[in-house]
């Protein structure tokens, strides 16, 4: 054992050097931010599935400043050990695939696509966004466990118009599968999106009142 201690020390030294703890290797040293302390703080709370949904809504409402808050509630392989997956209403997929210029590459819809889409979607309209979660009247009962939960919610996102009115830019239902990660954070592992028939389903009379699944497919990049 004593004979191998130097080798273990060497191993430890290699690790510390690689991570920048010892020496000058900058490979794993994050950048130093500029002075200023400006920007918008989005209060985050992921301690409960409902808190996570509220944080997602605050992130969406903050638009470009809210991406970290929004993505904090979306499962990420590095942080949570599992990747997010969004599933689409089949009628939305059928409508999208029938569109001119339908482009593949979105299945499976994972964390990276969600991050990219968020940035594009919050720039879709210049007015302030308001995202609200509501009950799913067709599935009123949630299924909550200690480490996993399935919540059924309706959602609506509106954009403030120049005339003071609110334009609905996304509406639908979502079956949300939550996972409590090892740090106690509740993140959305799976988002099963459903079109809202009350607004015309996948092909609504008002072309703006589409489910988020449609927004994801058409505004991903």
């Amino acid at each position: 054992m004593r004979r191998r201690l130097p080798y273990l020390g060497l191993l430890l030294l290699a690790w510390l050097a690689a991570t920048g703890e010892v020496g000058v290797c900058p490979l794993f040293q994050p950048a130093t931010p500029e002075q200023g302390g400006g920007g918008v703080i989005i209060p985050t709370n992921y301690l409960d599935p409902d808190s996570t949904l509220a944080t997602l809504a605050r992130g969406m409402n903050a638009k470009a400043n809210g991406r970290d808050a929004y993505m904090g509630g979306i499962a990420d392989t590095t942080r949570d050990g599992r990747s997010f997956r969004a599933n689409f209403d089949p009628s939305v997929v059928a409508r999208y695939n029938a569109q001119p210029g339908a482009v593949g590459g979105w299945d499976p819809w994972g964390t990276d696509l969600e991050r990219q889409w968020f940035f594009n979607f919050v720039q879709y309209k210049s007015g302030a966004y308001t995202m609200t979660w509501g009950p799913d009247t067709f599935h009123p009962a949630d299924d909550r466990g200690v480490d996993v939960a399935l919540l059924h919610r309706s959602y609506k996102i509106t954009s403030l118009q120049s005339d003071g009115s609110n334009l609905i830019i996304a509406v639908g239902y979502a079956d949300l599968f939550f996972l409590r990660n090892a740090s106690g954070r509740w993140v959305i592992l799976r988002w099963d999106d459903r079109a809202d028939d009350a607004y015309g389903g996948a092909n609504p009379p008002n072309a703006e009142q589409v489910p988020l699944g449609w927004r994801r497919l058409t505004q991903r990049g």
């Binding site: 191998r4 080798y7 191993l11 030294l13 290699a14 690790w15 050097a17 690689a18 991570t19 490979l27 794993f28 994050p30 950048a31 931010p33 500029e34 200023g36 302390g37 400006g38 920007g39 918008v40 703080i41 989005i42 209060p43 301690l47 470009a64 400043n65 970290d68 590095t78 942080r79 089949p90 009628s91 059928a94 409508r95 695939n97 029938a98 001119p100 210029g101 339908a102 482009v103 590459g105 940035f119 720039q123 067709f138 009123p140 009962a141 909550r144 466990g145 200690v146 090892a182 740090s183 106690g184 079109a195 028939d197 015309g200 389903g201 996948a202 092909n203 609504p204 009379p205 990049g221």
Partner: protein, 719 residues
């Protein structure tokens, strides 16, 4: 390139380390590496056995759960899966799709006559939906003739309040082949697909039919034992109709592969060219357009000295496609996409416990859509990525070291975000992780694991684009120390400590208010004790503290946060008789959290602002009178409490209680000599009630009671 050069900084200590670890290397069991494996993966499912799953997955360099999933999906035992992969010279995850595809190939016939027909019917039911799938697989061979048909019809019903949506998906593939000689066959193929969606409120229901009729020619060549190839030709007519376009015309494709297998080099290259020439129009209009679609795919793999101490492997793939579709005005829109990748690996291997691999990767992906109208923006995105890395394993006496190191860079550009231009994203990601394992005697196993990842996102404008994302770095560092003590066959216990540090850093001064550091400390103790020959108790205790600290002092005063988590999970597993088992599990969890209050004297004090408590008690009673039939009953009770601070006092906010009772049957039942019924079906009863508190006064919601069927049954019948 400058960034990649930084890799060289790490290379010397890494190689030095490998060269220095040249201990005695005496033979020993490598079971310590699997001491922490997830043994739930070994449970028998559908009559498949997963013996030696972990060593097998390790040697195949695939995740154990992925290997198990492949085995279940294609119903191949692990040994057969590996045998097929070896004989076909392909990765295990390609075996299933390859075998499915080759069922239509007349060249695979061995002669003789056979007529087999399999009918399958599956009915799946959930709370608000049901699916009925009917399928048929007919295979007829008469000497040199083959007729194979696979048909599937899926009927879905979705209830959404007063609305009922119906979906139907149809697919039928028929191929008739005539084997002219050992290496040539000709025939015809009909590929019919359909989709209908009836949504009572939608403006226009979606529907699509796609029919392709082709003449086929399949050939094989094997000029010598080391060289073999395939060349297949398909040509026919295409008829596509959906709500956006009607496309009719000629289609054709040619595909093939060539494989050489020598003593020191193996290579396989495959490819396909396909295209169609069609007249296309928008439904309801008369204006016809000529459209041309084309796609190409070239892929391959080269292995050099695969069984020698130094081996080399190269994979490449080049995919490009171009599709033309009419817009509303009849103007043709063009969509181009491409995906080209190449990756290489060099492996230096002494044995399965001593090797190092160096890898490199280059890739480009691009998508471009032209609207066909000069005043309308199209869309375009390109991604160029490259990466390099190393991984290795070295066993040194009782010590075993696993390590991975990767450097990756990607540049993604979106040049047409609006009329002014777009932006590009430059991502530089690096990660390193290592795991050290050592058994001490036969009863103690020690394991240390550490990893560091850093991802840097930088953005730049293209043209006059102004609303760029914020440059940022995401950093994560963690280590975990774990010891497993296994004093006897009836008892084992383990303790672990894990520390995680994460940084979220926005670079520009105008966006740094949200910069924060998240430190997590976690301690775990678990034990398993076989109290009686048929009764085993297991407990897992977890304590976690999570500190979220903002770097800007004005933000830290109000937003710094501490979250605590105490979790205990206790389970009892009893095998009362070989046919009757009872599992009991209790889970309790308390999660207080709060912020820091900064006092006038400069000290800070923790103030609890909310608390969550959840308790669950569940059981599962399973009675299996025969291997074909089992009954189960699963009661489960869950209580979730939330409390929050109001005027400095913690008060209850919400209390939810739910009771679930599920009872059902699982079947794996032969029906005579030709039929089989499998699946499970359960009836679920659920009661929920929530009390919402306001100023300490509770308002109960009405009791919610639901009951529904859940599960699925599959019937198969061979004729």
């Amino acid at each position: 390139m400058t960034r990649i050069r930084r890799f060289s900084v790490l290379l010397p200590p890494f190689l030095l380390l490998l060269s220095s670890l040249s201990g005695s290397g005496r033979a020993q069991s490598n079971s310590a590496r699997y001491a922490f494996a997830d043994t739930t993966l070994l449970r028998d499912t559908l009559g498949l056995s997963f013996t030696r799953l972990f060593p097998l997955a390790d040697s195949l360099r695939i995740e154990p759960d992925s290997l198990r999933a492949i085995s279940i999906r294609y119903r191949y035992p692990l040994a057969r899966l590996v045998h097929l992969a070896d004989s076909l010279a392909m990765p295990v995850d390609s075996v299933g799709p390859y075998m499915d595809r080759e069922r239509f190939n007349a060249l695979n016939m061995t002669g003789g006559s056979s007529n087999t027909f399999r009918y399958t019917s599956s009915y799946l039911i959930a709370q608000s939906s049901s699916t009925w799938i009917n399928g048929a697989d007919w295979n007829l061979t008469r000497g040199p003739f083959l007729l194979h048909n696979i048909t599937s019809i899926d009927l879905d019903r979705f209830h959404s309040g007063p609305y009922l949506s119906l979906r139907q998906t149809r697919s039928s593939i028929t191929e008739a082949g005539w084997k002219l000689n050992r290496d040539v066959s000709v025939g015809g193929r009909a590929d019919l697909e359909g989709f209908d969606n009836q949504d009572p409120t939608s403006v226009q229901n979606e529907a699509e039919t796609k029919n392709i009729f082709e003449l086929t020619t399949r050939t094989r060549q094997h000029p010598n034992r080391a060289l073999s190839s395939e060349l297949n030709l398909f040509g026919g007519v295409l008829d596509l109709t959906n709500t956006r376009q009607i496309k009719r015309g000629l289609s054709g494709r040619v595909n093939g592969r060539i494989r050489t297998q020598g003593s020191w080099i193996t290579q396989e290259t495959g490819g396909e060219l396909s295209g169609n020439l069609a007249h296309t129009r928008v439904p309801g209009t008369e204006f016809l357009s000529d459209t041309h679609d084309q796609a190409s795919d070239l892929h391959g793999t080269v292995g050099v000295l695969p069984n020698s101490p130094v081996s080399f492997n190269l994979n490449f793939g080049l995919k490009n496609s171009q599709v033309q579709t009419p817009g509303d005005s009849g103007v043709i829109q063009l969509v181009r996409s491409g995906n080209n990748t190449i990756d290489a690996a060099m492996r230096l291997r002494q044995d399965n416990d001593r090797y190092v691999s160096f890898t490199g990767r280059l890739g480009t992906t691009r998508q471009r859509q032209n609207t066909g109208i000069a005043t309308q923006l199209g869309s375009e995105s390109t991604r160029r990525d490259k990466g390099t890395g190393a991984e290795g394993r070295y066993r040194w006496g009782n010590w075993s070291l696993d390590g991975h190191f990767t450097l990756g860079g990607a540049i993604t550009e979106f040049p047409h975000r609006d009329a002014n231009g777009g932006y590009g994203e430059s991502l530089f990601a690096r990660s390193v992780d290592g795991t050290l394992t050592r058994p001490f005697g036969e009863r103690i196993v020690f394991k240390a694991n550490g990893d560091v990842t850093l991802s840097s996102y930088r953005y730049y404008p293209i043209g006059g684009y102004k609303t760029l994302p914020v440059n940022n770095d995401q950093y994560r560092q963690s280590y975990r120390l774990e010891t497993l003590y296994n004093p006897s066959a009836t008892f084992n216990t383990a303790v672990a400590l894990e520390v995680i540090r994460q940084l979220a850093i926005n670079i520009p001064g105008a966006s740094t208010a949200g910069n924060n550091e998240d430190r997590t400390y976690r301690a775990e103790w678990r034990w398993t004790y076989r109290l009686l020959p048929m009764l085993t108790a297991t407990q897992r205790n977890l304590i976690t503290s999570d500190y979220l600290i903002y770097s800007t002092s004005s933000v830290a005063g109000t937003s710094d946060r501490l979250s605590l988590d105490y979790t205990a999970v206790t389970s009892l597993n009893a095998v009362l008789t070989p046919r009757l088992t009872i599992d009991l599990i209790h889970n309790s969890r308390v999660q207080p959290s709060g912020t820091y209050l900064y006092q006038n004297d400069g000290l800070e004090a923790f103030a609890k602002t909310d608390e969550g408590k959840s308790y669950s008690l569940g059981a599962r009673v399973a009675y299996t009178p025969s291997p074909t039939f089992s009954l189960s009953f699963e009661p489960n009770y869950l209580s979730v409490q939330r409390a929050g601070a109001a005027s400095g006092v913690i008060q209850p906010q919400r209390l939810s209680k739910s009771l679930n009772l599920a009872g059902g049957v699982s079947l794996n039942l032969p029906l005579g000599r030709r039929g089989h019924l499998t699946g499970d079906i359960h009836r679920i009863f659920r009661d929920d009630r929530t009390i919402n508190y306001s100023n300490g006064l509770g308002t109960p919601t009405p009791l919610s009671s639901t009951d529904f069927w859940s599960g699925g049954l599959q019937l198969s019948w061979d004729m």
